[in-house]
Symmetry: C2
Subunit: 481 residues, 2 copies
């Protein structure tokens, strides 16, 4: 039996948290005073009218059980997008609510797919809010709330299981609240560091903050129509590359590195596999780009590595139009979309650790043909991966690919050509943003039919919440008894 | 330790079998006398010079062990293609040996991908040989999937170990021999039935035989440049549809049906799932085609069902150019390519039973989130599928998809656009023939670079032999000790 009262109570608490989050763009709106103050004020008032009485009427609820966590996480993300879209809508810069919802879901899921063709036309408050949704989503709205919800008298241990991105192998701290605070601290330190570095490299404070939000969350919303290509700066590109890689790496490694163990990265098989793939893909594409286009070698390295890192970390910032590259390079980028970041990072996709375990699992199955009787465990580094986890990961990837195939089929029924259908589904489900074809890096999602926008929004959510979290709600068994 | 001497002996025996097979097209060549007699005579003499002494020198070898089976099966198929290509090459109609090899591998693997642009220019003997390679390959695959692969632990048919007709003996050869005889009997009966029916529907005996070979083997080589569209006959289309479905169904079901249990099909979950997918896909595409193109409803049903059945059974005969259909319909056909036929049929692809188990497995993993402690077996009909088999199938599909992704990447490095790369790899690996883009149903594979032709030939073999059988040879462990 689901604890509906407790679930509703937490959802109201989350809406109150959303009100607090909206105070930041409201402040920016006051600062620049370019016409969007009312949009935030009205949204905040509206939310308070709904959420305050709701929250107090449902207080003193029972503890959540694990099963409730799935519903809280999914509905939490959904509500943030439903209500977070309101400022865009009532301000009038995004006159369709479908579009506003798509943009906001794209923000909170750290996807970065946009329906805007003229981003720079937005007032500063809305631009800030757009990027800030990334930042909030990046660490996980729920995980962020883990540090706050306990203050409201609500335990959160169960939520962690459904929320933590990827199959994290070693827990940082037995106490979830403590863990949340530690990771949040790491996230904040890296965020501040990148803002300062970007400022030093020549960006103004506003753009530094917005682009940092997009980087640290591996989101990809920019304040410029041409994304980071606007700056055409090797310094900025380098800073963003480094921070995209950091954001795509397990944050518990950063925590331990900051605690005085900087060599921890070298001992982590997933991080090393991640770096290895980035190198191999960069050499592959760099060679291809150098051979076919007449960039100079320096620019080739700069553009290639940036695009590779931007895609594999699922950020989606662009400094070059990869649709002008060869089919082979585009396909390599397309495959990277699915690999995604490391577990415990803000990156999307299937996660590196899953691919790593998949490779070892495939090898094991081949070995089993030669030695049918042998017991062959899957190992990552020193650790033996439990059979249930290997099975679960195999199931995850198969479900992921099936959903992808179904998604592409659905998008073609809306009239998209095959390449655009592949690109739009891969780019949203893996939380990247720009795809291929008509939703490539120089295009946007405005032209997609409303049904397609809602469906892609759903895919963003499913991808961000590791598929199972959302799909379990679609099984009759979840709602029984 | 591999029994090299015994392996070599069997391979020589297979070459002698190839000589016997070549007597059939030789007879046809004598009958029509249009210039290809020497091609077969020279090949037969050449093979006898090699294989006769080789066979007798290596006689009295020890029994084969299971591990030797992988090498025998893979090399057997390879040698048939290497030597079976010679008549095409020395006759001069296929002046490149690469092309001749591609065409022959395409034949023996029942793929049906062709490098010929003017098929009708070939003399009758070569045309017959081309189609006859399909028939031999189809026979080989039934034997392989029902009698040999289960012993190697490969392929969906371990599931039906007990259901395979024949005495359950521990000794390898008597059991294989008996099973083979029964299944060949079924194969022969269906072949004769189709030849007679096609003749009655208006084809001449020669074309009836060749098209029957292509149907029963789910191969797809035609004797006409425009494939079965040449006849534009509802009767012929209907006959071929029925026999494609029969060829794509488990032959042990046919055996039992012929033994007086015609209702056996209704009790088989795989066969029913197979028929269900054909119906759903036909309605999906039929609706789409009817809405967009102005075929009349009768033609729509005829064309749609034919193309759906031709693709899902991995035959590859064409009566309509599906590249003129919508992206959605093309993508649906593309997805069907991977589903493939039933286990124990001549169809390629991943096999229906694996998709069926995959669906149940995904559902089980979702259920496990709600009931983490429950033991949830995967069931097909009444039977509980052993956990090792489910894991093995998950591994198979993941390996299959990984190889597909790698294949597409490789083909794009040769300069193919993404759609053609997707199409060429899907159509060869799944043993279909026609793909998408520049290798669509009205095109051929002539324009592919030689490296691509060898690679696609490799994929045909890997796909046909259920991936594991070939890939296990690439692991160092296979060759150790």
């Amino acid at each position: 039996m689901l604890n509906y009262r407790a679930i509703v109570n937490i959802l109201f608490a989350l809406l109150l948290f959303l009100v607090m989050a909206l105070l930041f763009p409201l402040g920016v709106a006051f600062l620049y005073d370019d016409g969007d103050i009312h949009a935030f004020l009205l949204t905040i008032i509206f939310l308070l009218i709904i959420a305050l009485p709701g929250f107090f009427l449902t207080r003193h609820s029972r503890e959540l059980k694990i099963k409730d966590g799935f519903l809280v996480v999914t509905l939490g993300w959904l509500l943030f997008s439903v209500f977070g879209a309101i400022p865009f809508y009532i301000d009038g810069h995004i006159p369709s609510y479908t579009d506003a919802f798509f943009e906001t879901m794209s923000g909170f899921t750290t996807t970065g797919a946009s329906i805007l063709s003229d981003i720079e036309a937005l007032p500063h408050g809305l631009l800030f809010w757009r990027s800030f949704t990334h930042w909030l989503g990046g660490m996980g709205i729920i995980l962020l709330s883990l540090a706050i919800l306990p203050l409201l008298g609500v335990g959160g241990m169960q939520l962690f299981k459904a929320e933590v991105p990827g199959p994290t192998m070693d827990k940082l701290s037995p106490r979830i609240k403590h863990t949340a605070e530690l990771l949040w601290g790491v996230y904040l330190i890296l965020t501040i560091a990148e803002i300062i570095l970007l400022r030093m490299a020549g960006m103004n404070w506003f753009d530094s903050a917005c682009h940092t939000f997009g980087t640290m969350a591996t989101g990809g919303f920019s304040t410029k129509n041409t994304s980071l290509a606007y700056y055409n700066s090797a310094a900025i590109d380098t800073i963003v590359i480094v921070f995209m890689i950091l954001a795509g790496t397990n944050f518990s490694l950063h925590y331990r590195a900051l605690r005085g163990k900087p060599l921890i990265y070298w001992k982590d098989p997933e991080a090393m596999f991640f770096i290895g793939i980035i190198l191999v893909a960069s050499v592959f594409i760099g060679y291809d780009v150098l051979a076919r286009l007449n960039y100079d070698p320096g620019k080739t390295v700069q553009y290639t590595v940036f695009q590779v890192v931007s895609i594999i970390t699922t950020t989606g910032y662009g400094t070059a139009d990869y649709e002008k590259w060869s089919s082979a390079s585009q396909l390599m980028l397309f495959l990277l979309m699915f690999l995604g970041g490391c577990a415990g990072s803000t990156g999307g996709g299937m996660k590196i650790i899953r691919s790593l375990i998949l490779v070892k699992f495939g090898h094991k199955e081949l070995k089993r043909l030669i030695h049918p009787q042998a017991v062959l465990p899957v190992r990552i580094g020193q650790a033996v991966i439990a059979r249930e986890i290997v099975t679960n990961i195999a199931g995850f990837i198969l479900l992921y690919i099936s959903l992808f195939a179904f998604g592409v089929l659905f998008m073609t029924t809306l009239g998209l050509d095959i390449e655009s259908a592949l690109g739009s589904v891969a780019a949203t489900m893996n939380n990247i943003g720009p795809g291929l074809g008509s939703v490539g890096p120089t295009d946007n999602y405005h032209h997609i039919a409303p049904a397609g926008k809602w469906f892609l929004s759903f895919l963003m959510l499913v991808g961000r919440l590791e598929v199972f979290t959302v799909l379990v709600l679609l099984t009759p068994g979840y709602w029984r008894k």
